[in-house]
């Protein structure tokens, strides 16, 4: 034990903050001494006992609720209390209990999930089957096919050849392979591992493993993270490194950036303003009270003595707070709850939309964040990734140029590859000449396909259904598949060999070196020895790079090929130039030595290797060029055209080269021939991008479309940040890969495409769906509606509350500013909660100004959102004035009508209670009619809510004013009989009718005038009573007349090292973790 301890270099001292993690395989006792978290997870926030206190504590930290409590305290002071306690308590309880219920159900779900996950079984080497939650750090677990990964594991071995394992991230259909190559004797299970403490970096892991006195470095490649599923791998063994809460998955969760919409920000400003306004009103009223008390109150003391020591100024002070209570409805506290409800509703509509459901992948759209809907209607800039978003990331081998001859024009029918038993049936090609050339044995053609079959890092997998390729980039897959169909079938590989079936003959090449691809080299080479013993270097890469390294004898061929390349590029194809070179045995041996030296050097290995590679990749002989079509996603050009019509600027941020990006730009309608000036921002560093962009920002923002190429993920985010900061516009970022995550998180709205590159983008996104083309529906339909609904809601909500409150203000001038309410206290309690709650929610969930087809037909309808037209400070000021007018009508008309009249039997009707009832009925009817005026889309639900609420009002009023209620709760319902005695009076109804007319008709007249004089596009569409427009027309695919050179290559480093290296713990450094999306899944 002691020796092991020292071997592991363990410092037994315990530290509070874990600085380094030490663990020993299968030695629980030892590992437990560090008290590392076991594998039980707890995502739930509460338990039975802590739920109520904790949740309430959290809730009272919110400003709105705190404000309620403040009001409640004010109400408990008898001198101030102008309203009974229940006016505050009832809404507060309602708000609290809604939130409580929501949090409770969320937490129950979390508890269930936790239990489910914690009770999964896994085989632990020392204990047999064990529940997940009992798995400890240091255990070695055996995972079988289709099992979820238990914890963050250090991979030890797998059943598959080359020790590869395949994993699938949950909810991802595509298989992703994660290669590991370990040969480890499991009988010796005394590994000691030292590694970094738990952290949330998915792409980094550092540690060492000590085994039999030898120490090896560990990196991220060897770590299998919790949240993935093992696929197509019979079994694998892993050592638990981080368990439960320490796993990278858990460390990453719950740290999402909290996004707020611009309306949220505006609302906060407005609420602050309203607070100020409230203080202002209360000040005026309390000054009024001081004056009144001084002039009138003193003389009224006879009838209403003051409390001891009270005078006009104290009374004014108290009145201020009393009015704070009465006028508190001007600060719309229930606003926040209602806003959440309707956002949730609109999010559900996104989830439920069949038109955003992708049948092929069975993926519905998903609103992952439910608080951003209305911002979808305000997008000004879209930042899009290219690969996987605009394009399908499916490559098809379309054209090739071999030895100066161009093949692949689409003129004849599909080639039948049945002569080749190993052919991939999905592959199509249309040029029979090429088949003939292969069959006739043309050496260049054969060399071309041999190159394609040899020079790659694809893994082959022989299954019962046939041969499958695991390609790191789809271009490679396309090229190898092409070679396969033309008779050069790549069957399998070992670190030293590559097995082909060449025109039916099994051939094995000795793989001597892989000169792997990287972003700087832009090419890849292999050196192989053919069965005949011939040494050959095959190289493929970007045309310019290859051309630099060609032997002078190829110059003629080069010219012809260049022409072909231009042609292909003009068609928007991604091209590669192919070349080879026969090697001399001696020369190679020497090179190999130097190569070995470089590859084992510890410092600057990359650079040294590059130099070595450079040495041998010269004097190449050109074979030809291949052209791969990067297929666009369905409907991309149409979508982009639609969005452009909606005046949304689209920026494509891509890691691709300028030409490729430009090509894609043309092929998806972003760039058009008539756009003469194209500014291309191509820079290598963030600073340059920023500088250039700052210079060009004004220009760029005037542009219809901007394409940024060669940007790194970080730069993507920086570009978004830049636009966000300098343009103050609402931005949306859409992408599908891990390299888009930063951009998605930075933008106001992040959209993830649940596509081929894994789930990381989706997981950090706010909305997700399967196809780029759904974006137009998300924005033009859902976004527009959400924005419209939210704005209508806010406008109406503020209107009804201001109107309600201002009436109190006017009444102040008649009741000696004594903070007497106009309405019954119960009406004050229920007005927001019951009488007007449902209609406005109905309005803001169902309303549509025009239906979705019109939205598509006239993308211009989107503009009001971008210009903030429906809800802004200006609009708010108008609401304020409108409310002011309405409240004047709603107070002074009943006042004038009632102040000197009596019932038809001569009895009282000008009393306070009758007046209160009249004023509140007038108010409710006026705001309900206003609601009707604002409703564009009357569904049965709207009707039901509106009429229902009015009926409920009358029912509740009659009930509360009934004898029974009075006799039971005498002090709470003093309004007994008021409804019966005044609502049967004609003059009451005539007053209600008049106030309603006076409140509503000016609005109707104003709207009508605007429609006639200055109709918006919206009005025009609404007025046009024509049938819905036909479905969107088909866009002919544009031919690109100008030739542009376009080259494309997979931009990640391949598996070169991996496939050649047979040694332990030499894992390649990956530049693109996106291809291994094992890091980004949630606990299934």
């Amino acid at each position: 034990m002691g020796s092991l301890l020292s071997a592991c270099g363990i410092n037994v001292k315990k530290k509070k903050v874990e600085e380094e993690r030490h663990l020993r395989a299968n030695d629980r006792e030892f590992n437990l001494s560090f008290k590392y978290a076991n594998n039980a997870i707890k995502t739930s926030k509460y338990n039975v006992f802590t739920f109520l206190p904790l949740n309430l504590f959290e809730q009272f930290q919110r400003l709105a609720n705190a404000y309620f409590v403040f009001l409640l305290i004010l109400q408990l002071i008898p001198q101030i209390s102008s309203l009974s306690w229940f006016t505050t308590v009832v809404p507060l309880l309602l708000v609290l209990s809604i939130t409580l219920a929501k949090d409770l159900s969320d937490d129950i779900t979390r508890h269930k999930n936790d239990n489910h996950v914690n009770n999964r079984k896994v085989e632990v080497l020392i204990n047999g089957d064990e529940k997940w939650m009992n798995v400890q750090v240091g255990d070695i677990v055996k995972l079988e096919n289709n099992e979820f990964v238990t914890a963050d594991l250090l991979l030890l071995s797998s059943s598959e050849p080359l020790n590869l394992i395949y994993i699938e991230t949950a909810e991802l259909d595509g298989l992703v392979s994660k290669p590991v190559n370990v040969n480890m004797n499991l009988s010796i299970c005394y590994y000691c591992v030292r590694c970094e403490p738990p952290n949330n970096r998915l792409d980094k892991f550092t540690g060492t493993l000590t085994m039999r006195g030898e120490t090896f470095a560990l990196d991220n490649e060897r770590i299998l993270l919790r949240g993935c599923t093992l696929r197509n791998t019979e079994w694998c063994f892993g050592l638990v490194v981080f368990g439960g809460p320490d796993t990278k998955l858990m460390q990453n969760s719950g740290k999402s950036v909290f996004k707020r919409t611009s309306i949220d920000h505006l609302m906060n400003v407005l609420v602050m303003f309203i607070f100020g306004f409230l203080a202002f009103m209360c000040t005026i009223l309390s000054i009024g009270n001081a004056i009144w008390e001084y002039q009138e109150g003193n003389s009224f003391i006879t009838f209403l003595p003051r409390a001891d020591g009270a005078n006009a100024s104290l009374s004014a002070f108290l009145t201020f707070w009393s009015y704070v209570i009465i006028l508190n409805t001007v600060v719309p506290i229930s606003l926040y709850v209602s806003v959440e409800i309707l956002r949730l509703g609109n999010s559900y509509f996104i989830d439920w939309d069949r038109k955003m459901y992708h049948v092929k992948s069975d993926t519905p759209a998903q609103a992952r964040t439910t608080t951003l809907n209305e911002e979808l209607g305000q997008i000004k800039y879209i930042f899009s990734d290219k690969t996987g978003t605009l394009t399908q990331n499916i490559m098809t081998f379309n054209r090739c140029s071999i030895n100066g001859k161009s093949y692949g024009k689409r003129k004849s029918r599909k080639i039948d590859f049945s002569w080749n038993s190993l052919a991939d049936s999905k592959f199509c090609f249309h040029d029979h000449k090429l088949v003939e050339a292969v069959k006739s044995g043309s050496p260049e053609v054969r060399a071309f396909f041999r190159l394609l079959a040899l020079c790659h890092t694809v893994m082959a997998e022989e299954k019962t259904e046939g041969l499958f390729y695991q390609a790191q980039s789809p271009d490679e897959g396309a090229l190898v598949t092409a070679a396969r169909n033309f008779g050069f079938v790549f069957r399998s590989r070992t670190p030293e060999t590559i097995s082909l079936v060449e025109m039916g003959v099994p051939t094995t090449y000795e793989l001597l070196a892989v000169l792997d691809f990287n972003n700087v080299r832009k090419r890849m080479s292999v050196i192989v020895r053919s069965p005949e013993g011939k040494l050959t270097l095959f190289c493929k890469g970007a045309d310019t790079i290859i051309y630099e390294r060609l032997h002078p004898s190829s110059s003629k061929l080069m010219e012809v090929t260049t022409e072909h390349l231009n042609e292909y590029a003009g068609e928007g194809l991604r091209t590669l130039a192919l070349a080879y070179k026969d090697l001399d045995e001696d020369e190679f041996e020497k090179w190999k030595e130097r190569h070995h030296e470089a590859s084992t050097s510890l410092e600057d290995r990359e650079a040294k290797l590059d130099t070595i590679y450079e040495e041998i990749e010269k004097d190449l002989l050109l074979l030809g060029a291949s052209a791969v079509e990067d297929k666009l996603q369905d409907g991309v050009p149409q979508t982009i055209e639609q969005l452009a019509k909606a005046d949304i600027k689209i920026w494509v941020l891509t890691g691709d080269k300028q030409e490729t990006a430009e090509n894609i730009g043309y092929s998806c309608n972003m760039l058009r021939e008539e756009m003469k000036e194209i500014f291309i921002v191509a820079a290598n560093t963030a600073e340059e991008v920023r500088e250039e962009l700052l210079e060009l920002l004004r220009t760029a923002c005037m542009c219809q479309a901007v394409i940024c190429c060669r940007v790194t993920p970080l730069q993507k985010a920086q570009v978004v940040e830049l636009v966000k900061k300098h343009k103050k516009a609402v931005t949306l970022a859409i992408g599908d890969g891990a390299n888009d995550v930063s951009m998605i998180k930075t933008a106001h709205i992040g959209v993830g495409i649940s596509g081929q590159e894994g789930m990381q983008a989706v997981l950090s996104s706010d909305f997700s769906f399967a196809q780029f083309r759904y974006l137009q529906r998300l924005l033009l339909v859902h976004g527009r509606w959400s924005y419209l609904r939210m704005c209508k809601f806010l406008r109406y909500f503020f209107y009804k509350n201001f109107t309600f409150t201002f009436v109190h203000f006017w009444y102040g001038f008649f009741c000696g500013f004594s903070a007497q309410t106009v309405y019954d206290e119960w009406f004050i309690t229920l007005y927001n909660l019951v009488y007007t709650a449902l209609p406005v929610i109905g309005l803001s969930i169902f309303d549509q100004d025009v239906n979705d087809r019109w939205s598509f037909q006239y993308p211009q309808l989107y503009a009001p959102g971008q210009l903030n037209q429906y809800f802004s400070k200006m609009a708010f000021a108008r609401i304020l004035l409108h409310s002011c007018y309405s409240s004047l009508v709603l107070f002074f008309i009943p006042w004038a009508a009632m102040c000197d009249t009596v019932r038809d039997d001569g009895k009282d009707i000008a009393d306070y209670q009758s007046f209160a009832l009249l004023a509140q009925t007038c108010l409710l009817i006026a705001v309900s009619v206003q609601m009707g005026l604002d409703t564009y889309y009357w569904t049965a639900v709207n009707q039901f809510f509106l009429w229902g609420s009015l009926s409920v009002y009358f029912a509740v009023t009659f009930t509360m004013y009934s004898n029974g209620m009075y006799l039971i709760f005498t002090s709470s319902f003093p309004f007994i009989g008021t409804a019966r005695n005044s609502l049967n009076q004609p003059n009451v109804w005539l007053t209600i009718f008049l106030t309603t007319i006076l409140c509503i008709l000016p609005v109707v007249a104003k709207r009508f005038l605007f429609i006639q004089l200055k109709p918006t596009i919206n009005d025009k569409v609404r007025q046009a009573k024509a049938v819905p427009p036909p479905l969107p027309r088909k866009f002919p695919r544009r031919r690109i007349s100008t030739r542009r050179s376009g080259y494309a290559f997979s931009h990640a480093r391949g598996y070169g090292d991996l496939v050649t290296s047979g040694r332990f713990l030499r894992i390649p450094v990956k530049s693109r973790p996106a291809l291994f999306p094992h890091t980004d899944t949630p606990v299934p």
């Binding site: 999930n113 009138e296 003389s299 009224f300 006879t302 009838f303 209403l304 003595p305 009393s322 509509f349 989830d351 439920w352 939309d353 069949r354 049948v359 519905p364 008649f814 009741c815 004594s818 903070a819 007497q820 169902f846 549509q848 004038a896 102040c899 000197d900 009249t901 009596v902 038809d904 001569g906 009895k907 000008a910 009393d911 306070y912 007046f915 564009y936 889309y937 009357w938 569904t939 009075y966 006799l967 005498t970 002090s971 007994i976 009989g977 019966r980 005695n981 003059n987 005539l990 008049l994 007319i997 109707v1004 007249a1005 009508f1008 005038l1009 006639q1012 004089l1013 109709p1015 046009a1024 299934p1084």
Partner: protein, 372 residues
């Protein structure tokens, strides 16, 4: 996590094709077209005009007479007397003469229009109100200063008035006040007698019903006396309580004529307790008893004298007191506001309608603005 995996199969996650979920609920989408808006305006204008005329005619024939007696006639003396001491026990009587120019409420049906609505016109009842000006019954503290539970006759509450009544809950000796509170305390306590002076020089007292002037619900539900029976009188029921400070009589002796009108169910008390919404108000005092002539047809034109037991002080709050004699129609008392408001509204709507029509004809109809 949290993803629903409802069932399996290739389309298992496809959303339902329901009208609700696809936001295709059948709906009515009205819009403000000229065809709907313009007729509405014209019709509403007409409706308001007709209503206005109808109401105006109705109100025109609703007579009302106000006699301000604050310091009129011989009341100036009393007015000055009541200036300071509120509970001065010195009685003060005064009289004010006034003239009724036309017979209340007989209507000479000169117009056909009026005859049409004749059925709605008054049957001949004449109502007597006392009016107060600048008396704020609507102050919050004033309105709160009452105890409904006491006045509904609960025994427990009778002797334990609510703290809201302070300082009118207990008297100086700690005796509970019934009815407690500022509202009851400040009850209007002038008594008014109207004498008809026919030309023959005689004086006939105008007979008034002093009961039946409160809401039915108030009289029967909201206000109740503490339980009494044959052996247990009202006075006994109120034993242990004292009268409000400003009252001359205890609550069980408010009406010395009708013993059933005493206690909390006294009509005058009930009427007073129904606080007015505004500082200027009138409250029903009595209804003309038309049982005997010359009042069978109403209140004949001629000279009248109003004699007042002047108790209620108005000088402190610079208020006025008045007697209001009024008749009522289906539309209530005389109230010119609504008819005039309807007529003005009608005019405004008409003007708006004309403007809108002009705009529509000049601009909208050509559809210039409607072009895409």
């Amino acid at each position: 996590m949290g993803k629903k995996q409802a069932g399996t199969g290739p389309l298992s996650r496809r959303p339902d094709n329901s009208a609700f979920k696809q936001q295709r609920l059948p709906a009515w989408s009205p819009s403000l077209t000229p065809q709907t808006v313009l007729p509405t305006f014209y019709i509403l204008s007409l409706v308001c005009l007709l209503l206005g005329i109808w109401l105006l005619i109705t109100v025109e024939y609703t007579y009302e007479l106000k006699v301000d007696y604050t310091d009129a006639g011989t009341c100036e003396q009393c007015f000055n007397l009541r200036k300071h001491a509120i509970d001065s026990s010195t009685p003060c009587k005064c009289t004010v003469s006034f003239h009724v120019p036309k017979t209340f409420p007989r209507v000479s049906f000169q117009h056909d229009v009026v005859r049409l609505s004749a059925r709605c016109l008054p049957q001949g009842d004449v109502f007597f109100y006392y009016g107060l000006r600048n008396f704020h019954q609507n102050l919050r503290r004033y309105m709160d200063s009452r105890d409904d539970a006491q006045m509904v006759g609960r025994k427990n509450n009778l002797k334990a008035p609510s703290s809201y009544c302070a300082p009118f809950d207990y008297d100086a000796n700690g005796k509970p006040i019934a009815p407690c509170g500022a509202v009851a305390n400040s009850m209007f306590n002038d008594s008014l007698t109207v004498m008809y002076n026919p030309t023959d020089g005689s004086k006939i007292q105008v007979p008034l019903y002093r009961k039946g002037i409160a809401w039915y619900t108030d009289k029967n539900v909201k206000f109740r006396n503490p339980p009494t029976n044959n052996t247990f009188s009202l006075q006994q029921a109120f034993e242990g309580t004292t009268r409000p400070l400003y009252w001359q009589r205890p609550v069980y002796e408010l009406d010395d004529i009708d013993s059933n009108n005493n206690g909390f169910i006294n009509d005058d008390l009930i009427v007073w307790m129904r606080e007015a919404a505004f500082p200027n108000f009138k409250k029903l005092y009595g209804v003309l008893n038309r049982a005997q002539g010359p009042f069978t047809e109403g209140l004949p034109a001629g000279n009248y004298t109003l004699s007042i037991n002047y108790n209620f002080p108005v000088e402190p709050f610079r208020g006025r007191k008045e007697l209001v004699i009024s008749m009522v129609t289906w539309f209530g008392g005389q109230n010119y506001f609504l008819p005039i408001a309807y007529l003005v509204t009608s005019g405004l709507i008409l003007v708006t309608a004309v403007v809108l029509t002009t705009v529509f004809v000049k601009v909208g109809k050509k559809g210039k603005n409607m072009e895409e």
